[in-house]
């Protein structure tokens, strides 16, 4: 499915406004290296590719078929796919179980055909799949930046926004899977797959319900990688909305919460946490304990972080005397050396470097992570962080730094150093690490 070498786009269209066009175009523009077969009974050539009438006509082997034709034609296309020996299918088309009645019947028909031929189906009613490591964007928008996070989602928009943020912040993603109606392939199959996918480090999952809770827990327990979950439908009204959106059963939230705890799944409470936790787990080193040292140029920002950390069981230690003595030699007289180590508003990159290096060197035994708050336009901060980066997590918050902040943040993130825009978000990134590494 995700490492297909040849793809047929059934319903490829010469009309640039149609999804059948967009998907073929994204596959081409994304630099897919294998064979591409547009299928359309009425066209001869689309985007410079030879068009086939149907799947059977294709001479070569086809690993994956992406189907974008109207729902009533999908069963016959699937039948063709089965006969052609295609075992992986993504159905973008909507108008199935989600509309009830006839749609539900049609979806059951699909499932029977798929079962008969042993075809695995993603969708229907989904936004496709994208594996950047196979240059295979059978989806939209076009995203090509290779990264470490796999996003699996029951909402096209949530995953598209998530992927877009990763692209903008220079991290990229490993895979994007839009689950749609989950008629066949569901989150359990995908967790199992990505647990073994060498290009994926974190699995990020937006789901509105799980069908088989036990199977979900078991596969999550076995999973070798962090799983971050965002699952809405917490309130009664929210649950109703889940039913009409994806026909999922939201279930009792406290039960899902318990399942997450028992299966070591990181539960994000909102979209922002979902993104931040995924980013933190994918790009920060392992965290071994709960003791934090904060180096900042802003007292206020540091305190905001302290409250979040302490509320979540972290220990913001008091700076040990031996470290304080050394720090006095490299900091101005007005710097405050209790934790937070506050270099105040006239701090510069060099000062940060001296302090972080000394802290790492002298506090090996009593600090597990360093939270760096860059609270002013500090030029050259990115080089400092890059040089200090080691096996203990350094979590960076850059805030209140204007144009310099934007430049420096970009530099850091292009080197896979995550930067958070508020002290609370940086602190919560540490909380996520603590939940996962225990």
């Amino acid at each position: 499915m995700f490492y297909a070498k040849s793809i047929a786009v059934v319903g490829a269209s010469p009309d640039a406004r149609k999804l059948g066009h967009t998907i073929l175009k994204n596959l081409i523009d994304g630099g897919f290296k294998g064979e591409l077969y547009p299928i359309n009974p009425k066209a001869d050539e689309i985007l410079g590719k030879k068009v086939y009438r149907n799947l059977i006509e294709i001479e070569g082997e086809v690993d994956l078929a992406v189907i974008v034709v109207p729902s009533k034609f999908v069963p016959s296309v699937l039948e063709d796919a089965g006969k052609k020996g295609i075992r992986n299918v993504v159905i973008i088309t909507g108008g199935f179980r989600e509309i009830g009645g006839e749609g539900e019947k049609l979806e059951n028909e699909l499932l029977e055909i798929a079962k008969k031929y042993g075809i695995r189906v993603i969708g229907p009613n989904c936004q496709g799949i994208n594996n950047t490591h196979n240059s295979m964007c059978a989806s939209w928008p076009l995203i090509t930046k290779k990264g470490k996070i796999a996003i699996i989602s029951q909402s096209g928009t949530v995953s598209a926004a998530f992927a877009d943020w990763l692209e903008v912040e220079n991290f990229g993603l490993s895979c994007f899977v839009s689950l749609g109606n989950k008629s066949d392939v569901n989150e359990v199959d995908l967790i199992e797959f990505f647990s073994n996918d060498e290009n994926t480090k974190v699995i990020s999952l937006y789901i509105e319900g799980v069908k088989d809770g036990r199977a979900f827990m078991n596969v999550a327990k076995e999973c070798k990688k962090p799983i971050v979950v965002l699952k809405p439908g917490v309130t009664e009204r929210g649950k109703k909305a889940v039913e009409s959106h994806t026909k999922s059963m939201a279930g009792r939230d406290e039960v899902f919460e318990a399942a997450c705890k028992q299966a070591k799944i990181i539960r994000a409470r909102d979209f922002e946490e979902f993104y931040d936790f995924s980013k933190a787990l994918a790009y920060l080193p392992k965290l071994d304990g709960n003791r934090v040292l904060i180096v900042t140029s802003s007292g206020g920002a540091a305190i905001l972080a302290i409250d979040v950390l302490e509320r979540h069981g972290f220990n913001v230690i008091y700076t040990p005397e031996e470290l304080k003595e050394k720090l006095r030699e490299v900091t101005p007289a007005h710097a405050i050396l209790d934790n937070p180590i506050d270099l105040t508003g006239d701090a510069n990159a060099e000062m940060y470097k001296d302090v972080i290096e000394l802290s790492i060197e002298l506090s090996q035994d009593y600090v597990d992570a360093i939270l760096v708050v860059l609270g002013d336009p500090i030029e050259g901060a990115s080089e400092v962080i890059e040089q200090c980066w080691n096996e203990k997590p350094i979590v960076v918050c850059y805030t209140g730094g204007g144009e310099v902040e934007r430049e420096e943040t970009k530099k850091m993130q292009s080197k896979e150093i995550p930067v958070f825009s508020t002290p609370e978000r940086a602190a919560k990134a540490l909380v996520a690490l603590r939940w996962y590494y225990g």
């Binding site: 809770g213 827990m217 059963m249 406290e254 318990a258 705890k261 028992q262």
Partner: protein
């Protein structure tokens, strides 16, 4: 499936509290001493055996919250009172009589979840469970470590571990959670269990009320 559950299902009813307590005992769960009286004479005999004060409870097969239908008479202190309450509460299922005890009130419960199967819950007990909402949940089965984590998520755990008083028997609570988890696993016909209150003391715990929904 246990015989008690089987019988109740065959008779298309829920088990009475006496039956619930019997089933709990089979799983090694400590329940408060009790007797079932079908006549005034039996009621007095049971009350005398336990010594005053005692508690009288209505027995029913509808899984009712007994306190909501005035089916629980606490702190009964004389023969006259026993006779009076017995006559008000009696039915073909008899009246349940227990000694009146008072310890730290805990809530222990279980239910079958559509997606996850048997779930065990634990927290602050008493009439105001729904108000305080000091409850934690775990999917059954789980081990001792998980049970301790579950207990420690609640506020009542602070009192259990000894707050301005002697610590209560935490091991006995853990043991109860594990045994209830086994009971639910082996009897999936039970849809819901309420053991509220379950009293914790420094040396033991005891289930003082039990309600099963099938």
């Amino acid at each position: 499936m246990d015989e008690i559950i089987k019988k109740a299902l065959e008779e298309n009813r829920f088990p009475t509290e006496a039956e619930c307590r019997e089933l709990l005992k089979k799983y090694g769960i400590p329940v408060l001493d009790y007797g079932v009286a079908y006549s005034e004479k039996e009621a007095l005999k049971i009350a005398k055996k336990f010594g005053y004060p005692v508690v009288l409870k209505m027995l029913n097969i509808k899984g009712l919250h007994k306190s909501e239908v005035n089916g629980v008479r606490l702190d009964v202190r004389s023969d006259d009172e026993v006779v009076k309450h017995f006559n008000e509460l009696k039915s073909e299922w008899g009246v349940l009589i227990s000694p009146m005890v008072k310890g730290l009130e805990l809530f222990v419960g279980a239910f079958q979840d559509e997606q996850f199967g048997a779930v065990i819950s634990f927290g602050t007990g008493g009439k105001y469970v729904e108000v305080y909402k000091d409850v934690s949940f775990r999917i059954a089965p789980f081990d001792k470590n998980e049970a301790i984590k579950m207990i420690d998520e609640t506020k009542v755990s602070i009192i259990l571990r000894g707050y301005r008083d002697k610590p209560k028997n935490l091991d006995a609570v853990v043991d109860l959670l594990l045994k209830l988890s086994k009971l639910m696993h082996e009897n999936p016909e039970i849809k819901e269990v309420d053991l509220n209150p379950t009293f914790a003391f420094d040396d033991r715990i005891t289930v003082a009320d039990a309600r099963f929904i099938l």
